[in-house]
């Protein structure tokens, strides 16, 4: 099992080694120590490996991830798992702004809080936040699920397209064109599936969540909505 100390190994060297891995590599479990908030750790992975990072990471950790499992034992800076395509990213602490931004697939689980713009422009990723999310979360969200166990800040789901938002706690305010929607059995089943994939097997009751989504009034320009743009 490769064990890389970023206190002594240059970050570019680590990322280059991870990028060189073939899908059938035998080096399937990597340990990384002393990340000290460095940026872009384990970004751009494209192999079914597991990377465990012991400590807080900086910007864009696990960005563009495909296939890999990235476990951060600590907090994450701006844009963790941004533009993720597939795979699983798990942050045990808090995440800063724009967690999971523009993600197209895979699952991002955050055990602490995520700050503003969590899931901004998400395009198919599933994001599960055990704590709360900050303002402007799911801004222009297009597809995927954002699940929040705690509260959501101002303007949740502003200018949202077709992503599904599930919040168990309070929503401070909804953004333009975002409305609460009925939580039907099909949604509960879908949410249960997301929770199960995030590792919350039976611990959380899907019926405790409320569902939010697009009113679909801003899709086409209408002069009466001019003030909402």
């Amino acid at each position: 099992m490769p064990d890389v100390d970023l206190g002594s190994t240059p970050l570019r060297e680590l990322n280059a080694a991870l990028h060189r891995l073939h899908p059938d590599t035998n080096e399937r479990h990597w340990l990384i120590d002393h990340p000290a908030g460095r940026h872009a750790i384990a970004a751009g992975l494209n192999a079914p490996i597991t990377v465990e990072i012991n400590g807080p990471v900086g910007y864009y950790c696990a960005g563009m991830n495909q296939l890999a499992t990235v476990l951060v034992h600590g907090s994450a800076g701006v844009g963790v798992a941004e533009n993720m395509m597939s795979g699983f990213v798990h942050v045990s602490g808090d995440a800063s702004q724009s967690a999971g931004a523009t993600g197209r697939g895979g699952l991002l689980r955050i055990d602490g809080n995520a700050s503003s713009r969590c899931g901004i422009s998400m395009k198919g990723i599933d994001i599960v936040v055990r704590g709360s999310v900050g303002h402007m979360s799911a801004f222009m969200a297009q597809a995927g699920n954002l699940v929040v166990f705690g509260d959501a800040g101002d303007s949740l789901g502003d200018s949202i397209y077709e992503a599904r938002l599930f919040v168990r706690g309070q929503v401070k305010s909804l953004g333009a064109d975002c409305i609460e929607k009925e939580m039907r059995d099909a949604h509960k089943r879908a949410l249960h599936g997301v929770l199960e994939r995030a590792g919350f097997n039976g611990e959380v009751d899907a019926s405790e969540f409320r569902r939010y989504g697009s009113a679909r009034k801003l899709y086409n320009f209408h002069v009466d909505n001019a003030g909402d743009y």
């Binding site: 460095r38 910007y59 800063s96 702004q97």
Partner: protein, 296 residues
Amino acid sequence: MCGIVGLFIKDPSLEPELGRLTAAMLATLSDRGPDSAGFAVYGAGKAGETKLTLRAATPEAMTETAKRISHAFEDAVATAHDTHAVVSLPDDAVPELIAWLARELPEIEVVGRGRRMEVYKEVGRPDTVAARFDLAAMTGTHAIGHTRMATESAVTTDGAHPYSTGGDQCLVHNGSLSNHNNLRRVLAREGFKFETENDTEVAAGYLSWKMREGLSLDDALKVSLDDLDGFYTFVVGTENGFGVLRDGIACKPAIMAETDRYVAFGSEYRALAGLPGIEHSRIWEPEPATVYFWER
């Protein structure tokens, strides 16, 4: 981009480390702001005495200036640090010294004034700037610092932060203000003079104006949310503490850590990573449009 840092010490046994820790925080944020750097350090002060921080174009000019001040004012103690000097003198002698400087050495700038605050800033990489002034050897209760990537005005020492907003008060800023030209005109009518085209100097002037009108720093920061347009994270130093404010959108990054021994602010976690006991600290992001303040 720019980087800002702040360190407020709660445990007096850590005070001798203030300069060393702040220098390391600034050096880490060199790549957020390689153009210039500056910092304010709150060290020892004496009742009845004022510290003026002066800045000259060259170290030689400052050595000469310090000599002339010591010669002309027998109560004043002038200590030169590279291009800067700290002059300690009785409060009532301050107007006389400032008038004398304007007359005899108009090229010398007063960059800070207060009981405890000393302000240093220069063009260059932050680690180089910190080394020039030997920040690592400085001691005190708190410090704030800035690494600048210039966007709104030229790379000059005048454009380097911190900007002093009044006695023992100064401001560092990450972001850009979009209504600073208009606000500068308003403040000019109120009698404020500006040395630069810099947006942060306007923000500093704005806070000074509000406090001149009777608001506390806390309240001045609160009303600034209505009057300042743009993206900003401010860290403000005062004689006894420091404050933090982010605009309502909170685009500019900010992270804080608190332990029993200190409260620290950084644009990024990286800046805090070397602080003692950081792994057991409480770490959080300051909320938008919320004023935070620590005093001791």
